[in-house]
């Protein structure tokens, strides 16, 4: 397959086209807003395309270790055990995006159960560690936002 320009570069080039050639020629306000939104979504998608596989795989590894640590401190938590079993059977060896996403979603469910367990059990160090994992996830989402700010009312 053709690999360069990268997906990120192609999408950003589409953004440039929209903003420099398409938007100035539009007179309808609704269409202008739509183009601005599409351009934002494309810029977000460019960031995702560049990093999402690596981010999801790195986070998944951290989450799995965290979920195991919580399960060790609060054994017998059914929701956590169920989520960890599902994660263990995820298609983790594949780099196809659908498989990486499926594995990451299962990791997300395990993290949800682990965080609930840590808070309910008052496991302070593990709550703090869980917050750090959420911060990493949030940091990636902020990168994807690419400076987005809300508009309208």
């Amino acid at each position: 397959m053709l690999s360069r320009p990268t997906t990120e570069q192609i999408l950003l080039d589409c953004c440039r086209e929209l903003m420099t050639n398409v938007l100035p020629s539009l007179t309808d306000a609704t269409a202008q807003v739509s183009v601005i939104m599409v351009e934002t979504v494309l810029r977000n998608t460019a960031v995702r395309a560049a990093h999402e596989v690596a981010w999801m795989r790195d986070e998944t590894a951290e989450i799995e270790a965290y979920a195991q640590a919580v399960a060790g401190q609060a054994p017998g938590t059914a929701s956590l055990e169920t989520a960890m079993t599902a994660l263990a059977s995820a298609p983790r060896d594949s780099l196809h995006l659908d498989d990486v996403v499926e594995t990451y979603c299962r990791a997300g469910n395990a993290l949800s159960a682990a965080l609930e367990t840590a808070v309910a059990s008052g496991l302070a160090p593990l709550i703090q560690r869980g917050e750090e994992i959420l911060d990493v996830r949030s940091g990636h989402e902020t990168d994807v936002m690419a400076g987005w700010t809300p508009t309208g009312r």
Partner: protein, 330 residues
């Protein structure tokens, strides 16, 4: 979609004896949910009236969903019953048979959006006072004037418990997972604030939804998310609204002192921590609608570019939720 010819035909149907002619029809842009338009009608006797039309977007489009039947019933019920003005209902097309979509028509109100007034630096304090006083009036509304169909929670405890549980379930039926919500819900459950009496809640209480006339009471619009709930949901919802200038952020102690004075609630009940708590609960419904809209795309049913555009809103909101949860715990 409602347009001028459809409105003309509708007026001929509902007010044919008055011989009205639509002379102006102009869509109002900027809203995230319903489609709005301004229309002026000249009647056969020479008088003129202006109206605001508020209609549903095309099916399976958009992000934020609400029930036009409920909003219309609510407007009819509260019209003239509150110390502030509410849109005066005129006509409703409940099926979209005439106007192309469920659409109601209310009287136009001559007033300036409070959000515009707040843009003037020397009017910031006045704008905050108007905002707080308006909200307090809404929260003092006697519940018996509200439509019987409006859900009445059994008590404060079960209401809050339900909201926290709702938050933790927002990602239950969607294709994605969102661990932040589970962490936040767990912290909210563990750090519940003192109760207050449940009241009428606007649900989208922002300065852009308050119109200020030259004289007399203000008019509050966009009642689509109104409900009976905890009044601090309105305070919390607005407290983090990223539309400058935020009248709460400008002076939280002064803002809350005035609200307490107007409502009689105590500092233990209404303070910056409880407002943060209710920021999460006040935003949870809308966050759920954002999840639903993006999930539709994940399942192959596009809701339009607004849905994908608002994925950024999901990220920004959940990040802010986690920060609140962290503050509650520490």
């Amino acid at each position: 979609m409602t347009d001028e010819p459809r409105l003309q035909k509708f007026l001929n149907h509902v007010a044919g004896d008055r011989g009205g002619t639509v002379t102006v029809f102009r869509p109002i842009s900027g809203g995230y949910s319903r489609l709005s338009a301004l229309a002026t009608v000249r009647w056969a006797d020479g008088s003129e009236e202006s109206f605001v039309l508020r209609s549903d977007p095309p099916p399976d489009t958009g992000v934020f969903d609400s029930d036009r039947d409920c909003e219309w019933r609510l407007l009819e019920a509260i019209s003239g019953k509150l110390p502030i003005h509410t849109p005066r209902p005129r006509w409703y097309d409940p099926t979209g048979q005439h106007l192309g979509a469920k659409c109601f028509i209310v009287d136009f109100f001559q007033g300036r959006p409070l959000s515009d007034i707040a843009q003037e630096p020397d009017q910031l304090s006045r704008a905050a006072e108007i905002y707080v006083d308006t909200l307090a009036e809404v929260h003092r509304t006697p519940l018996d004037v509200l439509p019987p169909a409006l859900e009445r929670p059994a008590d404060w405890e079960s209401y809050i418990e339900g909201l926290v549980e709702h938050l933790s379930r927002l990602d239950r039926d969607i294709a994605d997972s969102n661990p932040a919500l589970h962490f936040v819900a767990a912290q909210l459950a563990a750090h519940r604030p003192p109760p207050v009496p449940l009241t009428f809640v606007h649900g989208d209480a922002q300065p852009a939804n308050i119109l200020v006339p030259d004289e007399g009471p203000v008019l509050m619009i966009d009642w689509e998310f109104a409900r009976i709930g905890d009044p601090r949901e309105d305070l919390g919802y607005y407290s983090h609204l990223p539309v400058p200038p935020n009248l709460y952020e400008a002076d939280p102690p002064g803002f809350l002192a005035r609200y307490r004075e107007r409502t009689g609630l105590t500092e233990e009940q209404v303070n910056e921590d409880t407002v943060s708590y209710f920021y999460v609960l006040g935003m949870a419904r809308l966050l759920g609608q954002m999840f639903d809209a993006t999930d539709a795309l994940a399942r192959g049913q596009s809701r339009g570019v607004m849905a994908t555009y608002m994925m950024n809103g999901i990220s920004a909101t959940t990040t802010a939720f986690v920060e609140v949860a962290r503050q509650l715990a520490h």
